[in-house]
């Protein structure tokens, strides 16, 4: 069983980092410990020092990928599934705004994929407002909105801008020690993507959709872990609801068979051919959908 501790950087090491700018050249030195925590990173001890990246140990699938799946499957665009932009007026508190910012980000990807420029621009306006209220406006400033408007006919550019803007926000939040807000933005985007997924395919019993829903199990587990680690009482409702979702996911099973990958050095590509399968029964899908809908309503209440 691994033991976790907050990484402590030696003052000399940090000073060296600060002074050298790009890190110390040459062989590794034996750093001592016992200084200030600099980036809220956490170390998990195994046979060697293993560290969670940026205080977070996982990634959250991009809402853009989910939106692209909708189009690939030919699911109809349903504007009514997206958050109404005036919903933002009802939000109070930092956590709700952070979650909503991620949710509007997922809606932005959904609208963009379906070439609904009007809805996308409106959603971006809400994200800009929320980012200002959350003091992350450097990522979603007037410049981004202008670039978005100029590229409204270019889907590739819009999706790239979406990703770049959310990455900039993530960077800014981590730089300023606001990892909880960062994780809440990701959580909001993830919940909204799942909401769009289960409702866009409601009653269709589509295998690809239920598979994609089932594939979110590890992300859900990671989100719960990282939010629990924050030990922030204001997150209690979010954690409780995510845990209820874990219950709905409890019976979802996965299988995995390793296959040797094939690497092509010329194209710098490795083809990962391992087999995997996820089984989600219709009853499990219903339970997951019900909890996702409940959670979304609670976030917006």
């Amino acid at each position: 069983m691994s033991v976790q501790r907050t990484i402590q950087w030696a003052f000399p090491s940090v000073l060296m980092l600060a002074l050298l700018g790009c890190g110390g050249d040459g062989p590794a030195s034996n750093g001592t410990t016992g200084g200030a925590d600099t980036l809220d990173t956490v170390v998990e001890q195994r046979t060697s020092d293993v560290m969670k990246v940026g205080g977070r140990l996982f990634n959250v699938p991009s809402p853009v990928q989910t939106a692209l799946l909708f189009r690939k499957l030919g699911l109809a665009y349903d504007k009514a599934l997206m958050l109404p932009v005036d919903q933002v007026d009802k939000l109070a508190g930092r956590n709700g705004k952070a979650l909503a910012m991620g949710m509007f980000g997922a809606d932005l990807a959904y609208a963009t994929i379906h070439k609904d420029g009007t809805k996308a621009i409106a959603g971006l306006g809400v994200i800009e407002r929320l980012s200002t209220e959350l003091e992350v406006s450097n990522a979603f400033g007037a410049d981004l909105v202008d670039r978005f408007k100029k590229n409204v006919a270019n889907e590739d550019s819009l999706l790239a801008l979406n990703g770049m803007a959310f990455r900039a926000a993530d960077t800014y939040l981590q730089d300023n020690g606001r990892n909880t807000v960062s994780v809440l933005v990701l959580t909001g985007g993830w919940v909204e993507s799942l909401y769009l997924t289960v409702n866009a395919a409601a009653g269709k019993n589509d295998q690809a959709i239920s598979t994609r829903v089932g594939e979110q199990k590890r992300t859900l587990d990671d989100l719960v872990k990282v939010l629990e680690q924050a030990q922030d009482s204001s997150l209690a409702t979010v954690v409780t609801e995510l845990k209820a979702l874990q219950q709905a996911y409890a019976g979802v099973t996965t299988s995995y068979t390793y296959e040797k990958p094939v690497t092509d050095p010329k194209t710098k590509t490795t083809h990962i051919n391992s087999k995997s399968a996820v089984t989600v029964t219709p009853e499990q899908m219903k339970a997951i959908a019900a909890q996702v809908n409940r959670m979304r309503n609670l976030i917006l209440a």
Binding site: L17, G23, P61, T171, Y256, Y258, T269, T270, A277
Partner: protein, 139 residues
Amino acid sequence: MRTAKLLSAIALGVLLPVAASAQCDTIASVCEKHITRQYIPDGQFYRALLTGDEMAEFNLTLFGGTTYRVAACSGLTDGNIVFSVLDRDRNVLFTNKEFGNEPYWDLSVANTIDVTIEAQLDPAKLGSGCAVLLIGFKR
């Protein structure tokens, strides 16, 4: 004298983390060149300050039918990071160690798979520094 020392300590405590963050941001802006226009950024920023043989790791779900680009950087030049992609049974699917510490690599995924990416500084090149990982995916 004591006050001066205290103020210096406070100043260092405030400024050094800022400098470390700035270092990570600079590396990220350099690393972004590897996530070319063909790839959509995943919207997240992964970083860790590493010294010696410390290893950063993170979990990633790679969806089937997608090609991902993983870029790993430290310092202002390429090739300072060793990174490996492992499946849930710890089979090594890829390591850039076998390819001269290439700063980026594409992963073409047939079926959805949960992986762990481990990253370390190459001890022959860097003793400490900020490790940055960026992910993008092809449409």
